[in-house]
Amino acid sequence: MTSFQSTLGEDAGIADELAQSQREISIAEFFEKNKHMLGFDSGARGLVTAVKEAVDNALDATEEAGILPDIYVEITEVGDYYRLVIEDNGPGITKEQVPKVFGKLLYGSRFHKREQSRGQQGIGISAAVLYSQLTSGKPAKITSRPKGSADAEYVELIIDTDTNEPEIKTAERTTWDRTHGTRIELEMEANMRARSQLRGYMKHTAVVNPHARLELREPGLEEPMKFERGTDQLPAETKEIRPHPHGVELGTLIKMLEATESYSVSGFLQGEFTRVGGKTAEKVLNAFRDRHFGRELSWSVAASHEAEIKDAIVDAVSNKGADATESFASGIVEVLGNRERTCRFELAEIVDTVADRVEDETGRTFGDTVRENAIEAAWAAVVAFDSDATVSTNEAVAANGDAAGADSDGRDRLTSDLYVIVDEATSTRKDDAVIHGFSERLARRLDADAGEERRFRFTADELHRAVEDAADATVEYDEVSFGDTARENVFEALWAVTRTVPDDLPKVKTVAADRDTASQLLEAMRETDILAPPTDCLSPITDTLVEAGLRKEYDADFYAAATRDAEVHGGDPFIVEAGIAYGGELKSEGSIDLLRFANRVPLVYQRGACASTDVVKQIGWRNYGLDQPGGSGMPNGPAVLMIHLASTNVPFTSESKDAIANIPAIEDEIELAIREAARELKSYLNKRRSMQKRREKQDVLGRILPEMAEKVAEVTGREPPNIDGAMARIMNNLSVDREVSGTTVTLSVENYSDRAEQPEITDILSAEPQALNGDASVVDMDGEWFLQWSPSVSAGEEASISYEVPEETDFDVNVDGVDAEKLTVNA
C-alpha cells in the first residue's frame, strides 16, 4: 500500500492536499487488483486455481474430522461461462461460519498455527469466490450439511470488495442426499486451455492422497476421471507446536514478550517455545547475560603477591580485633592462592564465605560495609595497575628480554598475567619483546575500560575491540606483523577466562520495552544449541504410501520411495519425501515427469522457479542409469519423479504457492531424498541391464551355437552333434566382467547358477592399482601386480571391486575355483 509522508520544513499544504486522495483500501479490493499473486491471472489458470483451492480445503476438512475424503469436481459450460461444482463429504460448516469461510479474505483457522496443513492464509477459497463474482457477476452458491444435521443450509453470497465482508443474497434450508459435507458452486469466465494441468492436478493429488477418492468431470471427458482409494489409512493427525527458538524474528519475539503472562524471561522461554525446559532456558539466559552485561575477565594471583593482598585487606578492616582480622584476611588470601583465576564477583563470593566462617569462629560481626571495603581493597591489589609503571619496564624488557620482571616495582599486575595468556595463544615465532609490548598495551587498554569497580566486564565485541586496538598499536609502534589469526587466538584465549556474571536479568516487561535488549535475547536464543522441534506436527505421506500412490496412478515396472528424517529450517521442521516410478507404460521419449508437492498439494505452475526442479537438474542422473543429455538438466526416460515437502511453513516463492523457494537446508534434503530413491532405481536398472545382457547373450548363443554345430558337422562330414548339454551349461553360469571407465576399473562377478560360488580371481596388471575398493589383496611381482580376490557369491547375486590404474594398463584375468564351463570371463 502506498503511503505518502510529508517532509518537515516543506510546504505544509502538500500533506493536506495529499491527504484528500488518501483512503483506506479493503483487502478484497487490493487483491482484485493483484489477482495474479493468487493464481487467478488468466481464465485458464483461474479455473485450475479455483479447483485447487476448493479441493485442498475439502481434503483438510475431511481429514481433520477423521473422514476418508470423497471429493467430486464437476466443470460444465454454461453459455459464456463455466460452472464449477466441488462437493466433499467433510463435516460440513455451520450456518454462521459459511459466509465467513467463503466470503471473507484472510479468515481461517490455520494462519496462526504451527502445524502442517494444506491451506494456510485463508485466502484461497474466498479468492475463488471473489474471482467468480468479478468475472461472471454471479454469487457463490454454497450448500452445507453438518454431520448429524437433518437438513442442509443453502447460501448464496458475494463479497463486498469495499469492506471485505460477505453479503448474503439468499439463505434457506434445503435437503441434500449426502449425510454430511459441503458443496460450492461457482460460475466464472474461464477456458479449458489448462485442461492438462487440471487433470494433472487431480491425478497428482490422487498420488499424494492415496486415502482419498476423487472424481473429475469436465466437458472434454467422455467418461468421468475416477481416482480410487489406495489405502484406508488416514494421514497421521498432526499436533500444533509452539514456535522454536531458532525460528522467530525480532518483531515476533517482541510481540510474544508483550503478550506473554510470564514475569521472568526464563518462564517466558519455557512457556512460549517448544523444546525449552529449565536447563535449556538457563543456557539461553546465560548467553543473554553475556550479551546484556558482558562477562567478567578473571585474573590470577601470584604467590609473591599474596602478602600484599593480605596487607591491603587488613588495612581495610578496622575494629574487628587482630585475630579475627588476621583470620579473615589470610582466609581470603588462601582461597585466592588456591584458585587459578578469579574475577570480581567471585572475589565477592569468597569474601562473603570467609566472612561468614570467621563470624562463626570468632563471634565478631563482619557487616556489609566491612565486606565491601575488604572486597574493594583486595581487588585493587589483585588488579593493581599503574599505567606509568609500564613504560620503564617495557624498556627494561626490551633491553634484557626478561618478561617476568614487568611488575618488579609492584604496580602492574595485569601485564604479566596477560603475557602468559598471549604467549600461549600466539605462535612461537613471535618475539618475546613483541608479546610483552602487546600484553602491556592490552593491559592499558583493558584497564582504561575496566569500568565500574574495575570489574573488567566486557561483551565479546568490546573484548574484540580491545585486542584489535592493542594489536594495531603493536603493529604501528613495534613495526611487526600481528595477523588476524593471532588476534583471533588471543581473543579466544581471553574469552575463555571470562565468566558469566550472576547478575539478575531484566524482567520480561523491560526486555519487551527495549529493542536492543530484546535483540540480545534473540541472539542468545539463536546461539544456544536447542533440540530440533518435534515432528509430530508433520504428517509425511510415508515411503510406503508414496509408493502405493505411485503404484495406483502409474503403470510402471519399478517403484521406489524414500522419506527423510525431519530437519529444521528457521524453526520450522520439515520432511522431504521422494518417489520414483520407472518403465512399464510410462512414456519413454522426452524428459521424465516431475511431480512436486508441498504439504500434499500438487504444485502445478512455475516448475522452472522451484527449488526441487533445480535440485533435480543438478543431480548427475547418468549415475543412476537415466539418460541425461549433457550430463545435467532434466533427465530423460520413462520415469516419474515425485518430491514432497511437508512443513509447518513451506517457503513458497510467492502467494500463489506454485514454487518452493531456494532454501539451502531444504534443497539439501530434497537432494538426499531423491538420491536415496534413485539408488534403488539404479540397482534395479543395473540388474535389469545385466539380465537383459544375459538374455541377449542367450539369444545370440542360442542362435550361433546350433549354426556352429551344423558347420562343424559339415566340415567333419558327420551327423550334427547333440548340443543340449553344452547349451545348458552356458545358460547356467558365473560371469566375470570388467568395466573400464577412464582410469577406473570395476571387476564384477555375477552368479547365474543356482548355488553359491566362490571364484578365485587373479587380475594381473601392468601397473599398480590404486584406491582399491573391495576385499582384495595386491602383490607386486617384478613389475606386475597380482590382485587376488575371492568373493563368495550366492545364487543370483553379484559382487564387485573397483580400483584405479593409468589408462592403457594391460589386464590379464585368471579365474579358478569354478568349473570352466560355468564361467564366462569377459575381462
Partner: protein
C-alpha cells in the same frame, strides 16, 4: 611345421579338420566348445635357450563359446576352417585381404569378419593351434616388395615352372623380389661374405649405387620397414643354410630397434614361428645412439611416443641385454634420434667408405 611331407596340402587339411573335429567332440560331450591359445603379449614371451629365439610362454587365453564374443569367434573359426580346407583341396591360394572380403559371401552373417585385423588374427590363431604355417595354408599377405641384391644364384619354383636367377646379373636395379613363400626357393651358388639387411629404400639404393654389394661381396636385403615373414624367413635360411653372418642396418630410433628385434628374436605376434623365422645371430650395425654422439649426426628430438617406446623396450624381454640397455638409456639421455640418411651429412660416400667398413670391422664381420 614341415612342408616337406609327401602331400603338404592334404597334411594341412587334415590338421584343420582335426580342429573342427575337436569342436565336434566338445559339443557331443556336452561341453562348451573352446580354443586355447598362448597369450600373445609382451609378457608372455620367453627366451628358449635351445633355439636361441623368443617363444610363447605358458600363459594361455581361452576363446570359449560361453560368451557372445567367444562364440562368434569360434563360429568364424569354423567357417574359416571350412574355407581353408576347401582352398587346400583345390590347391589354390588367396591373400589375407581376400579372406576378409570373402567372408562377406558366407551365408551366416554372424561369421563375417568385421575388419581385416580380425581375419588376420584368425589366421594367426589357426596357424598356432593347427601347427600349420600360413604359407602352407595357402594364405598370402599382400606383396611386401622386399628385395635381394647380391652375388647369389637361386632357383625359384614359379607357376610357370622353375627359374634360375642370379640376384645381381639377372635382375634390374630393383633387385630380386622375395616371393611370398621363400621355401619354394633353392640356393644354388653364391659368393656372399655377409648379408646386410637395410631398413629404408633410400639407404638400400645408396648402397647399390655406390656398388657396395660388389665391393664387399655382400647380399643387400631390403627390409622395407617392419619385415614381412617371407623376408625374415629367407634371411634365416641364408644364415642357416649358407652359414652367412647377418647384420641389420636401420634408423637410430626405437621403432627401428623393433625391426632389428623381429629379425633377430622374432616378433611377439608370431612368436610361435620364431624358430622358423628368427635369426638369433643377426647383429645390429646401427644407427646406434652411440653413433649419433660419435659421428655428430644431424638429429631430431625424441617425441613423447619415442620416449614411451624406448621405455617399453627397456621392459621388453627381447631387449634385456647389457648392450641394448646401455644404448637405450644413452638415447633417453641425449633425447635424440637419427635416420640412416643422416650419414649423408658427411658426404654421399661416407656410409660406404667409412661408416659401414668401420662398423663391420668393429663387429668382426670383415
Amino acid at each position: 611345421m614341415s612342408s616337406e611331407t609327401q602331400n603338404p596340402n592334404e597334411d594341412a587339411r587334415e590338421q584343420l579338420i582335426d580342429l573342427a573335429a575337436d569342436f565336434y567332440d566338445q559339443f557331443a560331450g556336452g561341453k562348451i566348445p573352446e580354443l586355447t591359445l598362448p597369450t600373445r603379449t609382451k609378457r608372455n614371451i620367453e627366451y628358449d635357450p635351445d633355439s636361441g629365439v623368443w617363444v610363447y610362454g605358458d600363459r594361455t587365453s581361452t576363446r570359449s563359446a560361453n560368451s557372445v564374443r567367444g562364440a562368434r569367434k569360434l563360429l568364424k573359426a569354423v567357417y574359416t576352417i571350412d574355407f581353408l580346407a576347401q582352398q587346400l583341396d583345390e590347391d589354390r591360394s588367396s591373400t589375407l585381404r581376400e579372406l576378409y572380403y570373402l567372408s562377406e559371401s558366407w551365408d551366416n552373417t554372424e561369421a563375417h569378419f568385421s575388419d581385416q585385423d580380425e581375419s588376420n588374427q584368425m589366421i594367426e590363431d589357426l596357424e598356432i593351434v593347427s601347427e600349420v604355417t600360413r604359407e602352407d595354408l595357402h594364405m598370402r599377405p599382400e606383396e611386401s616388395g622386399a628385395t635381394l641384391m647380391g652375388p647369389l644364384l637361386l632357383r625359384e619354383q614359379t607357376r610357370r615352372g622353375e627359374r634360375e636367377i642370379h640376384c645381381q646379373k639377372d635382375v634390374g636395379e630393383g633387385g630380386y623380389q622375395i616371393p611370398n613363400n621363400p621355401d619354394t626357393i633353392e640356393f644354388l651358388d653364391h659368393e656372399i661374405d655377409f648379408v646386410l639387411c637395410v631398413e629404408t629404400g633410400g639407404m638400400r639404393d645408396r648402397l647399390i649405387e655406390n656398388g657396395f654389394d660388389d665391393d664387399y661381396n655382400c647380399l643387400v636385403v631390403h627390409l622395407k620397414g617392419q619385415p614381412a615373414r617371407a623376408t625374415r624367413r629367407i634371411t634365416k635360411r641364408l644364415h642357416d643354410e649358407l652359414g652367412l653372418p647377418v647384420v641389420v642396418f636401420t634408423d637410430g630410433d626405437p621403432w627401428s630397434y623393433r625391426i632389428y628385434g623381429s629379425v633377430a628374436y622374432g616378433s611377439i605376434k608370431s612368436a610361435h614361428l620364431s624358430e622358423y623365422l628368427a635369426t638369433p645371430d643377426a647383429a645390429f650395425i646401427g644407427i646406434q645412439p652411440e653413433d649419433i654422439v660419435e659421428y655428430d649426426l644431424p638429429t631430431d628430438p625424441l617425441a613423447d611416443s619415442d620416449i614411451n617406446a624406448l621405455e617399453s623396450e627397456l621392459s621388453d624381454p627381447r631387449f634385456q641385454t647389457d648392450y641394448w640397455t646401455e644404448q637405450i638409456e644413452l638415447q633417453l639421455e641425449i633425447e635424440k634420434k637419427a635416420e640412416q640418411q643422416a650419414l649423408a651429412s658427411r658426404g654421399l660416400d661416407f656410409v660406404t667408405d667409412t661408416y659401414l667398413p668401420e662398423r663391420l670391422d668393429a663387429m668382426g664381420v670383415i
